[in-house]
Symmetry: C2
């Protein structure tokens, strides 16, 4: 094989982006503002600053500045694991016998095992710069908590993680990684917060939920001197930091004069997808290029494909601001689905607006199909993918097989957000034929959507 | 920071070595030959070919050819995860406040999580080329079994892994990774082999040992049509394949005109260490350069530092050829030590000869110190290291701290062989203060050495 394009395209360190790109700056229809849950008025910076770091509040609210310089300290940290490789999936193409050219941006080559570190280090940096003692957060599957622990350890910040109790018990290894990085990890709901006590009183023996863990983390942040709350997805600031994924991808493609036809990413809260597509979406919004941009979500949690574009609560405790987004309702509890990171009831406001305006499309896939694709990919590409990432793999394979039928030589780019080392219980279920698909009924979704806040 | 040398030195694909280097070709005192355990005569190729693939037997016995071209099919596979990065540990240096310059060659960025894949793919390739149906092997900690499963899956070979029963039960995730790659994994001892049945009869309820698993794997290979046995360490052929680690390291250093003073690697059977040091050792043997080459082993299994240089059995079942090596006796059972890959009673014949001839030195370290170093490294370098690799980290840190005292600006290179995602039970014990060090008594070692075969 004497191909011109290498298996892995690595940028040099000096080719790594020096600024994050804010896709909102190119949107005509800006994402709707966060609203105060009590007054339904747009959240003011001073209100948000009680919960979030000041610099991050600025980033959250700024929908006009196109580029935010990446501080040198963050760039130094990025260099430990970035630029990440853009991989040409030669082996997968060969196995599929497709004329399509498949590339994936691999974000799993760091110990947090996912792209989450890109925003964690930025949020930790701004917390440190503000002179804070530490930050609080919640984690479900554990990727975000791990990433934040690493970032806080680097800046000597205290890190308090509320981990959904069922994950805390089922994923002790994730917990140990966080402890290795010096974080304190509390199973949620806990007796350390008012809201935790209330929930435990009402539902003794509950195994917790992401919504409850968020409420506990926010409570501790607002009640502790020198602490703020940080979040790993959904927010505009997170998409901004994650734009580095897309900027690197585009720079690597440009280096070899490659124009992708399709860009595919999995979508939970939107952090990876928003980051990956941002510079391509920018071109599309400015009318400079066209791309087929595809969000992939699980059939069990189909915010885009079956949800409603409306203001909703971001958490179950209803203490966070209201966001306008594609949502299944904050009451929606997805069926047991091992693709933990994609179980969020809502979706980034930015992506929701772009989807509503027709700049991207969405598909939903059942998880047994996702694991089949994951295994197929692992066997030829040598990477054990995270279940979340495998949603994108599934659709990339489907599209490549369509090309095989039509003979089209499409260039397909997808985001491989992370590795599946901590998801082997799910792989085991799949191998043993014990994995099931669950598709919510129309009634279930309607029931949950009926509880949207009245605006 | 405007350093000239990047955080990660990546070679281009076309700079990846095109041939493996055989360090034996430059040795005046060649490693002693493998002996037939019955006759004590050197093993003939036709005897070895019953167990091993033909091409690999040639590589095993050839101590004069300096370079073996790497077949194109293997190079294609290598390109999925190689060249691997040589990382400048800027963050660790800063944390230690040392004038030393620390580099590590990171072999963990592939799903097998270690350098073992370098030889697994070569051995699978030659098995395929010989028209075999499949291969058998044993695995303890699981890294080798995982690597071989990946390699066999790539070449559509059947892969039968005998996994030490205690690991099979304690490391179900490793087992699931192997199953993802289509391997069959049998806990050893098993009722599927004669030797397994015998052992189970004699020791019902035993949790197995590496020695027993080897014997079962060899039995199945020799009794099954179209199968051979493969091994992940100790053998000359394995060191040959692993030379790619050292060749890449040297090429990356040469690119920036860096001359290392010290090269440090962990030593179990010797595969990583032998591979990492090979081109440097070659220069040393040819009198072209001098390097301080250091093998690091656990105090609980000190083959180099407290063993004897003698012919010994490679397995507990005593069915394999005899090898001359530094050994603690094939009867030696290391105390429970989570650095699984370093628990072998013996050591590569090649490295044993080089050590005996004074071309390298060895130190042993207690595992609590190793885990302290691992955590320190993880917190600043962002990689969760395998316990095995952390032995090298420990000594690299010690040496860097010596430089801090003396003011020497030594350049230290060490091998970071893999990641610790599947070793979190050990990390947990460490965090909980439940980890202990064990140093064997002189009597214990003497007792085990008293059973060496009489030559």
């Amino acid at each position: 094989m004497a191909e011109k394009i290498p298996y892995k395209i690595y940028l040099n360190e000096d080719e790594m982006p020096k600024a994050w790109y804010n896709v909102r700056s190119d949107m005509k229809n800006k994402p709707a503002p966060l609203l105060n849950p009590g007054t339904h008025e747009p959240m003011k910076p001073e209100e948000l600053s009680v919960v979030f770091c000041e610099e991050l509040v600025k980033q959250e609210l700024d929908d006009t500045t196109a580029f935010f310089p990446i501080p040198e300290e963050i760039r130094s940290f990025y260099k430990m694991y970035r630029p990440s490789p853009l991989v040409r999936a030669y082996c997968l193409e060969k196995k599929l016998g497709t004329p399509a050219k498949i590339y994936y941006k691999f974000e799993g080559n760091n110990t947090s095992g996912s792209h989450k570190l890109n925003s964690a280090i930025a949020q930790a940096y701004y917390a440190k710069k503000q002179g804070l003692k530490g930050v609080t957060t919640e984690t479900g599957a554990g990727q975000w908590g791990t990433a934040l622990s690493m970032a806080c350890s680097y800046f000597d910040l205290d890190c308090k993680v509320f981990m959904v109790k069922v994950s805390y018990e089922q994923k002790p290894f994730r917990r140990e990684v966080m402890r290795t990085y010096g974080a304190s990890v509390t199973p949620s709901p806990s007796m350390t917060t008012e809201i935790g006590k209330k929930i435990l009183e009402k539902h003794p023996g509950t195994t917790g939920s992401l919504g409850c863990a968020i409420s506990e983390a926010v409570e501790v942040a607002t009640k502790s001197e020198g602490y703020r709350y940080v979040l790993g997805s959904v927010l505009n600031q997170v998409l901004l930091h994650q734009s580095i994924i897309g900027l690197e991808t585009k720079a690597a493609l440009d280096k070899y004069d490659i124009k992708p036809d399709m860009i595919i990413g999995c979508a939970g809260g939107g952090s990876n997808l928003g980051g990956l597509i941002s510079p391509f979406m920018g071109e599309k919004l400015r009318g400079e290029a066209d791309y087929d941009i595809v969000a992939v979500e699980p059939v069990s949690c189909p915010s885009f494909t079956r949800g409603k574009f409306a203001y909703d609560f971001c958490d179950t405790g209803m203490v966070c601001p209201l966001a306008k987004m594609y949502t299944l309702g904050s009451d929606y509890i997805p069926a047991p689905n091992h693709a933990g990171g994609l179980r969020y009831h809502g979706m980034s406001s930015t992506l929701s607006q772009l989807y509503d305006d027709g700049f991207m499309r969405a598909v939903s896939v059942p998880q047994t199909e996702v694991f089949k694709a994951a295994e197929q990919f692992a066997r030829v590409e040598g990477i054990l993918p995270a279940p979340e990432s495998s949603h994108a793999i599934k659709v990339a394979i489907d599209e490549a097989l369509k090309c095989k039928e039509t003979g089209e030589e499409k260039t397909i780019v997808f985001g491989l957000t992370g590795t599946g080392y901590f998801d082997l219980v799910a792989y085991e279920k799949f191998h043993n034929g014990e994995m099931e698909d669950y598709i919510p009924t129309d009634e279930e979704i309607a029931e949950s959507l009926s509880k949207l806040p009245v605006m």
